[in-house]
């Protein structure tokens, strides 16, 4: 298959922040800062340890009043300060089949910073698992948005 064979398992999210790149990178990689913003709505994040270098790990839990506590682990594969992070995100269990691969890039844009999150999910099994996680009822999907999303996959 072509290199596009992961296209249907990729999610790309981009945001421009009104802050210099060093600061944004620090917000992503400093245990002092990361708990203040990371996590889905309604969840609080608590870091137990964070070691941002190739092979290093970030262990944290995400807590929700209703849904409970979710263990998370990130293992960094590549760290290019302050422009790029590559890591595997799983539930803290070795050989977790539901692990997914993420690349985050930080681009300087005259004082602002463009962050691109590129996530590749390994299999449909992962989606089944993550579906339980967060358990937000979606269902607001209209056909138009669906078409947009499909176009994005091209």
């Amino acid at each position: 298959m072509s290199k596009n064979d992961t296209a249907e398992r990729e999610i790309i999210i981009t945001r421009i922040f009104n802050a210099p790149r060093d600061l944004v990178f620090q917000a992503f990689t400093d245990p002092k800062h990361v708990d203040h913003w990371y996590g889905p709505r309604g969840f609080s994040t608590k870091t137990s340890d964070m070691d941002v270098r190739p092979g290093g790990k970030w262990n944290f839990v995400m807590r929700h009043e209703q849904y409970g506590v979710f263990k998370n682990r990130i293992v960094y594969r590549e760290v290019k300060r302050p422009s790029r992070l590559e890591y595997t995100h799983d539930s803290g269990v070795d050989g977790d089949p539901s692990a997914f691969e993420v690349t985050v890039t930080f681009e300087e844009m005259s004082g602002k910073t463009k962050v691109t999150m590129h996530s590749v999910f390994p299999s449909a099994a992962e989606l089944e698992r993550v579906k339980g996680f967060g358990a937000v009822e979606g269902g607001k999907q209209t056909l138009e948005r669906l078409a947009e999303w499909l176009a994005e996959l091209e």
């Binding site: 999210i13 203040h36 999907q141 056909l143």
Partner: protein, 123 residues
């Protein structure tokens, strides 16, 4: 019927099939109409349609002559909802980060770098 995400993903892994679905999201179409934008034979398009039909992503009309194709949103919804949820997670995090970066900027100005010269000119 829900054939499961595996089947859905495998059906979605082909760009032609995704284009067919994107076209059907705008309205029902016959095989002929679907074949038009692609430089592809009718049997080739029919083959793609069979894969999509098996995955429950489309349904074909009963009319033996035209058999118009219709998008079935069930399986796609599951995939799209997952993507949507993941996106929501990051949108929520990024919204918070937006505000938190302002806090970080303030912390930084209060605590200038140790290396900074003390007699720095004030503009």
């Amino acid at each position: 019927m829900n054939p499961g995400l595996d089947t859905t993903f495998s059906a979605l892994s082909d760009p032609t099939r995704r284009a067919i679905l994107a076209r059907l999201a705008k309205g029902d179409a016959t095989v002929l109409e679907l074949a038009e934008p692609f430089s592809m034979s009718l049997p080739a398009v029919s083959k793609h349609l069979k894969v999509l039909e098996r995955a429950g992503l489309i349904a074909r009309g009963r009319d033996a002559q035209r058999r118009p194709c219709r998008l079935e949103t069930g399986p796609l919804k599951e995939v799209a909802e997952f993507a949507e949820r993941y996106r929501e997670h990051w949108e929520a995090s990024f919204d918070r980060l937006d505000g938190y970066l302002e806090t970080m900027k303030k912390i930084q100005t209060k605590q200038p770098k140790k290396q900074a010269p003390k007699n720095r000119a004030i503009k």
